[in-house]
Point group: C2
Chain length 577, copies 2
Amino acid sequence: MATTESSLSQEISEQTALVTKLKADNSETSLVEEARKKLAELKKNLNLLKNAASGGKDTGKKKERLLLKTAKGTRDYGPGEMFCREHVERIIKDCFTTYGGSQLDTPVFERRDILTDKYGEDAKLIFDLMDQGGEQLSLRYDHTVPLARYLAMTLSNSPQSKLWQVGKVYRRDNPVMSKGRMREFSQADFDISGSWDTMIPDAEILSLLCTILTRLDIGEFTVKLNHRKILDGIFEVCGVPAEKIRSISSAVDKLDKLPWSEVKKEMCEEKGLDSSTADKIGEYVKRKGGEDLLTILLSDTVLIANENAKQGLSEMSELIMLLKAYKVADKVSFDMSLARGLDYYTGIIYEAIVADSAPPGFKVDATADALEAAPKTKKKPAKKGKEAEDEEDIDESTVGVGSIAAGGRYDNLVSSLISAAAGEGKKSTGVPCVGVSIGLDRIFAILYPKWIEKGMRQKETFAFVMAAGDGILEERVKLVTELREAGVKADFLAKTKPKLPTQFTAGEKDEVPFAIILGGEELKEGLVTVKEQKWEMKEGKKTKIESSDKGVKIKRDELVQWLKSSQTYSDWQTGKW
Amino acid sequence: MATTESSLSQEISEQTALVTKLKADNSETSLVEEARKKLAELKKNLNLLKNAASGGKDTGKKKERLLLKTAKGTRDYGPGEMFCREHVERIIKDCFTTYGGSQLDTPVFERRDILTDKYGEDAKLIFDLMDQGGEQLSLRYDHTVPLARYLAMTLSNSPQSKLWQVGKVYRRDNPVMSKGRMREFSQADFDISGSWDTMIPDAEILSLLCTILTRLDIGEFTVKLNHRKILDGIFEVCGVPAEKIRSISSAVDKLDKLPWSEVKKEMCEEKGLDSSTADKIGEYVKRKGGEDLLTILLSDTVLIANENAKQGLSEMSELIMLLKAYKVADKVSFDMSLARGLDYYTGIIYEAIVADSAPPGFKVDATADALEAAPKTKKKPAKKGKEAEDEEDIDESTVGVGSIAAGGRYDNLVSSLISAAAGEGKKSTGVPCVGVSIGLDRIFAILYPKWIEKGMRQKETFAFVMAAGDGILEERVKLVTELREAGVKADFLAKTKPKLPTQFTAGEKDEVPFAIILGGEELKEGLVTVKEQKWEMKEGKKTKIESSDKGVKIKRDELVQWLKSSQTYSDWQTGKW
């Protein structure tokens, strides 16, 4: 029963993905409706099953059954999915090293006080470990704070560095699984720390981000860009009191999912800002554009008289100049409503979005300040029982994948850790940092359906060794071993005397390009038969192209060389295939 | 101060590794003594610092300082270390796919009841998450139980599979950091599940293990091999009561670190076995050997009359035949004292050890039953305060790296999960499994010192673009971008107007093989200067070989092509360099 329940859940998540996809592709209404109906049916069945499993209304005191599932907000990734995820990670890691980065790995959990006071009100989303004697520990919430801890600890060793990390981070958020919003999720971070000349590392990071998104072939994307100092300058010029700047800033950040009237309401009614001050802010933050916008702002004498705004605008000009040399200026859009949630940003801030990935009027955030932008949850009638607190479901169809990467400059985080360790009153010289976090699950959520649609391979096995006739186990093992030693990924069916069609089926499941057939008589003559197999997508299904030929006979001793000199092998080695 | 404390800890762990290495290499006594003295000095300094940091005896109520460190039993891996670890992982993953494996990824935490009753008395080492509302969760203890859960959930999809996982697992054990025994550690698992013909998957796994250890170039290794059914048969034949078989088995497993007299004492005094029964067992389990030993046992009419022993011996014979075809029979040693701790093994069991990696008379276990074999801890006087419970230090110098991989056949684990989910009395058909766990931290602990000694590179950057003269920032950015687009890993110094020697120093730190120098005048002529740089180890230090030549002048437009057609580039691409 549990098996059925879990396979039903799997079907539901696949069907949900299908419905989303059909809608995204503007498919025919009838198709969408049909898919939707099937989804409702599946959900109903799951509920029936769950009720049956819990024994209906009054089961008495039966021994509790084990629930075979992963923890809420987490999931397994099976072979096909991992093949795609590895492909994504490989590209990202290659870009990271191409840009001169070195890898860092920090533990999944940290001493709790390292994480304290870094995430504002989102701190409630931190997973804590149980007190089992010893230290108080928590699962890491992002890669940025562990990196800052590492930099604070090793400062003397490398004052300037490019470090990258790929790994899982943890947030007790409300998951939206089909969109890649999880409690356990993977981020790939790249950070440049240390004293460099202005805007060069910032431009490196933006160039890196654009290179990665281009190489991932994720579709049209835009990197929205702003500068904390420009924002602060605007707020000062408009007359926002210093103590309200951060809270007004976070109201502004909602402009991409709420109309101005709502944002203004929040500023004035909730946060007590003058209506006229809010209107002045509105005139600025509603603007988006490119270099033209920068030129307009630079000629704004009121704004330019403000020290913060002046510095921010001057840095933005330098940045744009550099982005042109990096050939990515066209990917970047200056968006004055981008504010980002985290307090620690001190310079430029940015986030990457994929065109049309989010429904209009909505925003979900991949990174540090995800929570701010969390979709409204539909509260269900209060549940009793111990899991009640944890049960707020989100209507997944209203949530887009949202931003797929984000980051900014944070010049004070490392020094604040060093000061805290040195004790009261001690100041540390700063370690300026700029970095980006790429949300791997969001990217996977976008790429995997395309991957499936294109019928991409899910396994690398290159040759499948088979027996015609009486098993010939030892010969099969010897040949497979020889192939593997030569670097040819090879497999065979682990049966003593398998039938030939069974072996072909096994090889076809792996979409193996070469079937190698051993026959007793042929082997005596020193020969083996090789059949090349090709597949193509037919009506959304991977289908083997039947060829009439019976394969070629190759000398057993020359087989490895023959395979390795085939065109297919060299295509396979260079990743074309 | 915190910085100094952490850098001291780092020095201590390096010095500890050095002492161990010197001893392992049988270096001159004076050298060992000197290294030991320095270690003692460092430890003393650390204690002084710690006392100073905690403010001596009575500091009163100062605001508590942040302790800048990783959690106990965990550590960061910096750039050089990660370069080596990635190298190890890349080889292992390549072997996994060469053997037809597909990747699986499961969450770091599981619903607690999935892990319950799987680890016997070691269950106390499981890290639990705090109850923050919702599910009861624990960090995974190994990859085997999550894999079994995955198989139980997805059974209908793929009845036969080769799955691998690489990732971190967690145990609240007493860490021995310098030997790679950690609370957070990485394991690479490969498992074959489903119904195959006898011993073929088992032989595949052993062949895979030997291939990996050979390709890692870890030094001479042996795979110790035994069979649970042979052991059970021996116990039955010798007259051990059924209910004592598992506990006597775990006593036998200690034979590689305790003399027979001690093991016998444990059997008789602690576990209440007859002395004569113990002696009979002793006659069997003290034996080690190859096929010869198998032949002797097969002619032991008393033993062969036992059903378990007969089946185990027959399977061992089949296995040895297959291992010959796989060309790994010489790596495997039949060791009748190998019993392994976990209850769930049902067939062959094995563990790989590296020659001379463990001091004689001692054993540390890399995998599931690590605890059983844990070294005796030196209890210090009881501490007060909240971390007391967590503070048992181990004398690291007495601990070897121990076994670096282990595994076996476990045919009932998946079906027991399915039965538990289906409810009382329901039986599930079995899903036979056989697998291996490779301890990545132990392998790293062995390989990294060699890696350093050989002066292996720690970064992949291939070209460093420099400016002679007035900065030429834009030209440098353009060239770096062009190189990166062409797949050449390239970097430059992020300064507006850096001095040439500073740029050379930065490039040398990365051991970059090509320095590309841009000069204003040369650029006008369309030329750049390229200098190839080589390094070698001199007196344990990486040294640049000074060449007298001034470099070659290459046309700017042909530079990328020129670099990519160099011998160094093709060596670099094929990993020779």
